[in-house]
Every structure is written in C-alpha cells, then in structure tokens.
C-alpha cells in the first residue's frame, strides 16, 4: 500500500520535474523576451483597462506605444500626469490634452418630466427605449435606468432618487463608455474646466417642451443673446459651445427654466446633485 503512494508521488513528481525541465530548456533557448520597455510603460499606465484609448486594455496600449503605433497621449484616465511620464520615458514631446469628463445633458427627473406610462420591464435604458420610445414623455430625456452607471468602470455615475443619471466629475476618468451606452445620446465628454452646462437636449419648440417637462429648454434664446460666443442656438435648442464655454454666472441666471447649471471639473458636485 505505502509503495503505491511512493510510486504515485515519484512518477508524478518525476514527470512534473521532467516537463518543467523541458519547459525551462525550451524557453531558455527558444523563448522570446518581451521588450522590457513594454513592462516599464505598463507600469506608468493606470492599469484599469478601461479601453478609452481604443486598445484592448493597458498592456495592449503599452505594446502599441513602444512599437510607436500609438501616441502616448491617448490615456484618458491617466490625464496629463501619465502623458508627461510616458513622454519623458520615451523621450518624445507629447501633446497635452485637457482632462475630459462626462456629463448627462438632462435635468428632468421624475418630478420635473411627465411620464407616458408606467414602464415595468427590464431595468435597462436601451430596453426601455424600445417600448414605445420609452416611458418618458420627452423623447430626448434621460430614462434613468442606469445603463450608463453599469458600464462605468469607476462608479462615477449616480442614479439619483429623482430617476436621473448624474456623473460625478471628480470621479470621472473620461473613458467615454457611458457616452456609448446611452440610447438617447445624452452624455458627452466636456473639458473639465467648463463651468456651466445647458442640461437639455430636447429639440422641440417651447410649447411642446413645456408639455412634457418643466425644466426643458424652451428656445427663448435669452442665453444666446447674452453670450453669443458660448451659447449657440440649434433650432429651438440652446447648446453650449465647449470651445469657448460660458463663464458668466449672470448669464446662467437668466435662463427661465434654470437649466444652465454650474458643474465644473473636480471641485464641487454637491450642489449639482441636489
């Protein structure tokens, strides 16, 4: 009996050592050394594998950088600190880009926006949008079922009690996953320094907007007249031009619907979520 145990251990152990030996020899003579720079570049990247750079994870992007197939400034979550570190390591001059954060351009939650019917289906925005265009009377508004929140790799999207998705800019890494997830195309990436945002995407005219939501853009053009550089009219909808965003609180206060909201980059978020 005991000899069987000894036999089994000896054979299996021997075989293991033998196979290990073969593997060792083979990799010693035939192994391909990974470029050590890839490892170093990988160490500089944030390592959250969000895919914002367009590559399949940080390791893939690191390989592309080393092989000079990709510029070092594509990492959104890393921001300029990572870009500078990478550029320093590679000895190239990188173009710095301003940090981008996502924002949900809708302000009409359950209290403000009317509902057409009670949606009782799968808790997913894309699914809800398939049912007669969603339960929200406004065909452009946030459905609040959290499809964006679920794809966010850093949990920066909150679904408020009011049934509205809100991005916390101080947590956002700008990977753009929520932008793709939103069936209403309500989310966009904006520069972190932009202070004021027009939180409505309803393209309908004033009376139609008023019927469905109490905080929709009615196209009164007050903001566009007060700050023509920043606020542009697209038909009956005022849109912020983020090339030169609004910085004047007085103009924001002019909005009769109170949808020009202050929500900038890193600093404050409490008032925005209220």
């Amino acid at each position: 009996m005991s000899s069987e145990i000894v036999n089994a251990v000896a054979v299996l152990g021997g075989l293991g050592v033998f196979c290990g030996g073969i593997l060792g020899v083979v990799s010693r003579f035939f192994g391909v050394k990974e470029d050590p720079r890839v490892e170093a570049v990988l160490g500089l990247l944030p390592g959250i594998n969000c895919g914002a750079c367009g590559f399949a994870g940080c390791a893939d992007y690191a390989r592309a950088i080393v092989m000079q197939k990709a510029p070092p400034n594509m990492c959104a979550p890393g921001g300029n600190a990572v870009v500078e570190a990478l550029a320093g390591f590679l000895g190239v001059k990188a173009e710095l880009r301003e940090r981008q954060v996502a924002i949900v351009l809708c302000h009409g939650g359950r209290q403000e926006a009317r509902r057409k019917f009670a949606y009782n289906g799968v808790a997913d925005c894309a699914a809800a949008a398939l049912v007669a265009g969603g339960d929200k009377a406004c065909a452009y508004g946030c459905l609040g079922l959290g499809s964006c929140a679920r794809v966010c790799p850093v949990n920066a999207v909150e679904i408020t009690a009011n049934g509205l998705a809100v991005v916390h800019p101080e947590l956002c890494i700008g990977c753009g996953k929520c932008v793709k997830a939103c069936p209403r195309q309500l989310i966009r990436l904006v520069p972190e320094s932009a202070e004021f945002h027009i939180l409505c995407r309803n393209k309908d005219r004033g009376p139609a907007v008023r019927k469905v939501c109490s905080v929709g853009c009615i196209g009164c053009t007050l903001c566009a007249k007060a700050a023509p550089d920043a606020c542009k009219m697209e038909g009956a909808l005022a849109v912020m031009d983020y090339v030169k965003p609004l910085a004047d609180a007085a103009v924001a206060a002019k909005c009769p619907q109170k949808i020009i909201v202050r929500r900038s980059g890193r600093r404050e978020e409490a008032s925005a979520c209220a």
Binding site: N7, V11, L15, G16, C19, V32
Partner: protein, 198 residues
C-alpha cells in the same frame, strides 16, 4: 486504410465530440460569436488534439502500463498525468510558435493556453487508451475528433451569426437562443447514429 477512414468518419459525424459526447462545450459556446475567432480556435484544437494524442498515448504506453518502463501498473494516475503532459506540451508549442511564427501565435492568441484545460483534449487522450488503439489509430482518432469539434463549432458559429442578425425577441437573445440552437444541432447529428457501427 478503410479502418482509418471509418475512425475519422466515426469521430467527425457519428460520435461527434461536441454534439454527441458533449465534450468541449465551453469553447463551443464561448468562442462561437464570429467566424474568424472560431476558425482560430479550430486550428488550435486540431493541432493540439492530434499531437496531444500521440504524446499522451506514448506516455500511457511507456510509463503507466505494467508493460512500460517501470514495470508496475500506474494506470490509476492516468487523468492527472495526462493533464500534466498536455499542459506542458501546449506550453512548449506556445513557446515555439512565439519564436518561429509570431503571426500564427498572434492569430491563435488566447486559444492555445485555453485548450490546456479543454475537456475535449483530455477526453480524446482517455478514449484512445480506453478503446485500446495503437499509435497511428490514436493519432487518426485525435485528428478526427478535432475535425468533428471544428465542424460543430463552425456550423454553430455560422448559425449564431445569422441568428444575431435576425434580431430575435429580447428574451431569446444571447445564451438562450444559443443553447436552443446547440440542442437542435445535437439532435440533427443524432441522424448520423446509424451510419457506422462502432
């Protein structure tokens, strides 16, 4: 010659590894989303199963059986030894591929290491011993089994691609319809059962 043809036909159609023996279901469902990745998996499986048959048969014959090198019956170690040998073999192949054919290495990608723990590969090794094949028979059977796996995988992938485009109802999308399809395909392959008496 006729024996080998029958072996291949039997492994491909009558006792298809995936659809009749239900081995290798994981990659069957996992990598059947589009044809190119499925093809990569097929090539990797055919290669590993054919060579793996030869390696495991040799190990079993010359190490584990009483008539082998040690002169004692070690067949009770079969499963664990096969896993060890297959894993080592796949690793060696991977290293060689990376050195000599980076393109093929890139194409096979993650599938090669995945195959290490594929039950179809282990299944063919065990079946070779159970059916008391000799070395050429074992290799041919391994090749046939892998071709059968590839055939099933490619048919299934083609079906899934078409189904995905047909926009089935939400409740049926994804794994639900994939499993229904797999079941129907398996039923269809039962039609081959009377083709050869094994």
């Amino acid at each position: 010659m006729e024996k080998y043809i029958l072996l291949i036909l039997g492994a491909v159609l009558v006792n298809n590894f995936v659809l009749t023996r239900f081995l290798g279901i994981c990659p069957f469902l996992g990598v059947s989303k589009n044809i190119p990745t499925a093809l990569g998996m097929c090539v990797a499986v055919i290669f590993v199963m054919t060579c793996g048959s030869a390696v495991t048969w040799t190990v079993s014959r010359f190490l584990l059986e009483p008539a082998g090198l040690f002169g004692i019956d070690l067949t009770y170690l079969q499963t664990i030894v096969f896993i060890l040998v297959i894993a080592a073999f796949v690793q060696v192949v991977e290293i060689f591929l990376r050195k000599f054919s980076p393109q093929l290495y890139q194409a096979l990608g993650i599938f090669l290491p995945l195959i290490t723990t594929n039950c179809a590969v282990l299944g063919v090794a065990v079946l070779n011993i159970q059916k008391q094949y000799n070395l050429p028979e074992a290799v041919v059977f391994g090749f046939g089994a892998a071709v059968g796996f590839s055939l099933a995988l490619l048919i299934f992938t083609g079906l899934r691609e078409k189904i995905a485009r047909a926009q089935p109802p939400k409740a049926f999308q994804g794994p639900a319809l994939a499993l229904v399809t797999a079941g129907l395909l398996s039923l269809a392959f039962m039609g081959f059962a009377a083709l050869i008496k094994m």
